[in-house]
Structure formats: structure tokens, C-alpha cells
Symmetry: C2
Subunit: 349 residues, 2 copies
Amino acid sequence: MNAPERVIAVDVMGSDRGPAEIVRGAVDALGDRSDYRIMLVGDREIIQSALPACPAKERERIAIVHASEVISMGEKPLQALRTKKDASMVRAIELVRSGGVDAMLSCGNTGSLMAGSTLKLRPMVGIERPALATVIPTFQRYIVMADVGANPNTTPLQMMHNAILGSDYCSRVLGVERPRVGLLTIGTEEGKGNETSLVAHDLLKAMGALIDYVGLIEGFQIFSGAVDLVICDGFVGNILLKTLEALVIQLKDYIRREFLANPLRMLGALLSRGVFGALKRRLNPEMYGAASLLGLNGVVLKSHGSSTRRAIRSAVGLAVSIIGKGFRENCLEKIASAKEIYGASRGCV
Amino acid sequence: MNAPERVIAVDVMGSDRGPAEIVRGAVDALGDRSDYRIMLVGDREIIQSALPACPAKERERIAIVHASEVISMGEKPLQALRTKKDASMVRAIELVRSGGVDAMLSCGNTGSLMAGSTLKLRPMVGIERPALATVIPTFQRYIVMADVGANPNTTPLQMMHNAILGSDYCSRVLGVERPRVGLLTIGTEEGKGNETSLVAHDLLKAMGALIDYVGLIEGFQIFSGAVDLVICDGFVGNILLKTLEALVIQLKDYIRREFLANPLRMLGALLSRGVFGALKRRLNPEMYGAASLLGLNGVVLKSHGSSTRRAIRSAVGLAVSIIGKGFRENCLEKIASAKEIYGASRGCV
């Protein structure tokens, strides 16, 4: 007997590029694997009008779940959740809660997605708040960073949980068997850092049985290949992620402009275009296409508001790779073990 | 009558490249302007043996201050300060305190430099802790960021002070008359951020008479040209700075490797080498060569441990540009005004 077929819900509304782009990316993703189906959540008419442009073969594994409302980017997250009960994002989260789907993906309003999925799915037993984990391309490899913005006041205990959940995530997504975990701070000497990082460092050191904690790392070690998972406060992680994204975009623009400055350079660009193709592929944020909310009773992925069909295709693939291997059970077990270690280290059980 | 001649103390010890490189950079800097002198602080014999390789004309404006000890990079900052009373760094700071020089520059142990100069020079009246401000190259312009690591638990009040001191610094160093100040956070909507940034935002909004506060900025706005001065917590700033530095180095390596992959690309690189020359100049950290400690009763600059002579030359030039215009008086006046505004806003004088 085959394994039961997995189902991914894709909220097609609320993106900068419009629903058709998301629909196309989701349908394209079905072409990559045959072992799952997709529920497109949003305005039925809009989805139906976008489908004919998609590959016919894959359309058979699509179902539509109608939702009459959309939470837009500019809306206040909690207010939007309160007033728009039939928003596509809300419906997709509810599908996860009811067990109708195994994961959901949205490129809509980040605040609403985080608040809505936390309220409706609830954090796992032992987890206080979810964390946003994302894959970051570096020049040698991919790494995972958490938290990148779900929780701007991450406590040391929450960082410890993020390291455990993030390690598991990192294994699934990057295929690293025992991910090396680093805690991002401002100096690797003992005693250097801010109050949160100092306490978190002690907690992480005690988790040797559950994670491969390599210790404190500084900013320049993110790209050095020393770690697979970077743990940081959601405030720091969010700023870092956005800064790096902006830097890559500006770098591309700059190089393009400079190459167009004279005919000799244009010829040079032509001869060496392989270099920039390689660089572009290397730093392509579409490669994984989504960040994941870790620590909830359900798999929730967030794609960029400006995601292309290519990014959505990757993101759906990412969702499938996460859910395929008993994600929740594994995490619950490790969080329970962490609690025992933590409790024992404080003299209580 | 001419303006009195300025004097800059340069701690030549404790760098990764050895004293001769620092001596050479300092002497080269004298060639750029004729209105100041330099005191080289360190082992007299080592300095004397390095001088003959330097341009003869400039050597006349050099004095040597002997110091028998060196604080090395790996030492614990406070312990080193306690035990090495005759360290070159300590002597250079004391020259600032005694008025023997107008500014000092070191590429030695950052922790010792921050702790030593704070202890010996003391913060200005009204200032709690110094901040490290640095010039960051972006693709369009230079910007200043503070704090980048002096104070990993920056409070909102300290951020407000950094914005005032940093604005003055930004004007002097970048020549921007009224620098636009942004507070780095994770979302520009009111109410988004961590506890510190939310309070700091309110304080900065009240300082309209003293600074041009443009509001909250996110990571991707650092490079967008929207601000001249980025205010952030020292923990965030330090991580960001080191990450960006590492990224630029790795990017250069990556592009170089890719260009060497085949002869066609090598020819391409030759034809378009202007592009990379431009990029290298644009992102060159040697352009300013040092970060400044703001808020002390004296001008203290910190260069990278691995600074080249070119970086030291720039750093000395930076020191001269800061001290030339009544730096301390101006700052004291503004900090006093800030206190009045702040006091009035809380109903007390």
C-alpha cells in the first residue's frame, strides 16, 4: 500500500503579483512530484480563470476552496483577522487545523499569518511562541536562520526551543544529518553579548544530547561555513535578513549599470556572463521560496509578498519535504526531552 | 595668525599587520595635509626602525612617545588595562586626557580601547555610555551607523543621545548639513518592533529641533538612500556590520574564482575590469578607515586590527576632519538641549 497522499493548501490571494502568478506556481510544483495534491484557497472565479493557462496534466490534482475575502498587505493583522472571517488566509489555516491539509502556504500579510496561525493552531506543548525559520543562500552552502521576525523579543528559553525545532527543520530541508547550531552574538569570548544571548548560551550548552551546539558566532561567521543553523533574536534576524536581501538586489543593479557604462565592458559582460549566472543562481532567494513557522501544531509557510511563480513552486516543494517525515511527533518528543534536561539542570523534575 | 596646529596620537602597536604598517600609514597621512602633527605611540626602537622607509619630508612632523607594553588582541580588556599601565594604547588615551593631543587612533584590542577610554576620558556631561559610530559604504553614498558595538544593551535614552551625537558626527565626516536619521527596526508601522525600539522611537520624535528624524526604517532601507544616519542597538549594529563586511569579502572571492573558471571568462574579466575596480572602490572599507567612539571627553578612533597603511592614512584624515570644528562644545550644547526637551516632555525641568 502506498503512503497516504499529502495535501498542501495554497492561499492564492494577497500577493503583490496577483493570484494568477500564485496559481501558476502551485500547479507547476505538482509537475515536480506525483505524491501530493493541492488545494487552492481564494476567490473561486479568479482561480478558475487562472487555471486554463496552467499545464493540463497537473490540473487534475487541484481542488479549489472558495474564500470571499482577502487580507491585504497594509491591514492591521489582528483587526483583519477579527473582521475577515472568510479571508483566504484564514480558510487555509483552518484547513490545517481540521486536518484537511498537511500544510499551508501564503504570501499574504505576515503579521496576520503569524497571529492567525498561532491563534488557530496553537503552539506545540512546551512551546511558548512560534519562530520564523528561513533558508539563506551563502556562497558555499545553504543555511537556516531562526528567528527571522516572528518574535522580536525572543527570550533565552525560546531561543533554546528554536534551536531544537530549527535543527530538526534544518535536517529535513537541507538534508544535514546533525546540523551545527551557532548562537549569533557580538563576540565569541565567554561573557560577551547582551543579557539575552548570555543566558541563551548557557541553556544551549546544556542541550548537547539534542542538538550539535558549536557555540557563539559573530556576524562574519554566518557565511564562513561554520554552522548550518543560526539562532538569533527575531529582532536581529529580521533586520539581518532584510538587509541582506536588499544588498543582493542592489549589488545586481550596480553591476548591471557598471557593465552598461561602455561597449568594452558590455563585451566583457557577454564573455563572462556565466559568472553572473552562477552568482544569480547561488544567491537566488527563489530556491527555497518560503520561511516556515516553527513550533505550531501544523505546518505554515510564508512566502514573500512579491514571490514569482518560480518561488511558489519551490515553496510548495519545501512544504512537501517538511511534512513527509513525522515532523510534529519528532519535535514534540525533543521539546519534552529538553524540558527534562532543563528541569534537571535546575534541580527539579 | 594661523589656527593652532592639531596633533593626533597613533597607537602603532597591537595590529595584525605589525607596527611598520601603521607607522607608514600615519606618515603617509601627513602628506595629505600640512596643518597637523602626529605622535607615534609604542616601542621607540620598533618605530625608529620603521621610519626610514617612510617619506622623509613628512617625518619632520612626527614625534615618538615610548611605551614599553602592548595589549594584544586576545587579552581580557579590563585585566589588560589593570596590569599594563605602560601599554601604548593606554599612553595614547592619556595623551588625549592631558590635552597633549587632540585625538587618538588605535587598531588594537577593541574592548580595552572602549573600556580604557571610557574610564580615563569619562563620558560627556549628560551621556551615560559611549557609542561606536562607523561609516558604511553603500552603492549610492556613504552612511553612518551607531552604535556598532560599544554598548550591546543600548537603552532608548542612549539611542536618543547617539542620534544627536551621530548627527553631528555625520555632518562633519560626510559633509551632510542636516543628516536624516532613521531608527532601525523590523517594521515601519507604529507599534512594531521590540520594547527598546518602541520607546526610542517616541524619544526621537520629540527631538525634532535637534535632529532630522525621519522615523523607523527596516533592514532594506539601510541601502535605499532614505537616511544618512542609522541608529540601532549596539548588539544589532555589531552583528550587521560584521555580516556585511564578511559578505563583501566573500563576494569578491566568489567573483574572482568564477572568473578564473575558464579562458573566455578571464578575457571577459579583463575587458570589464573597470566594473570591479568601481565596485571595489565603492565598497572599500579603507575609505574612512576607522570607527569613532562618540560621547567621550576626547576623540578616540578605532581601526580594524587588520588595517592596511591605506586604511590608517584614511583614519588619520578622519580624525583631523572631526576635531577641526569644535566637536565637543557642539555636542555638549545639544545634549543639554535634549535634556531640556526630554525633561519638559515629562513635565519636569
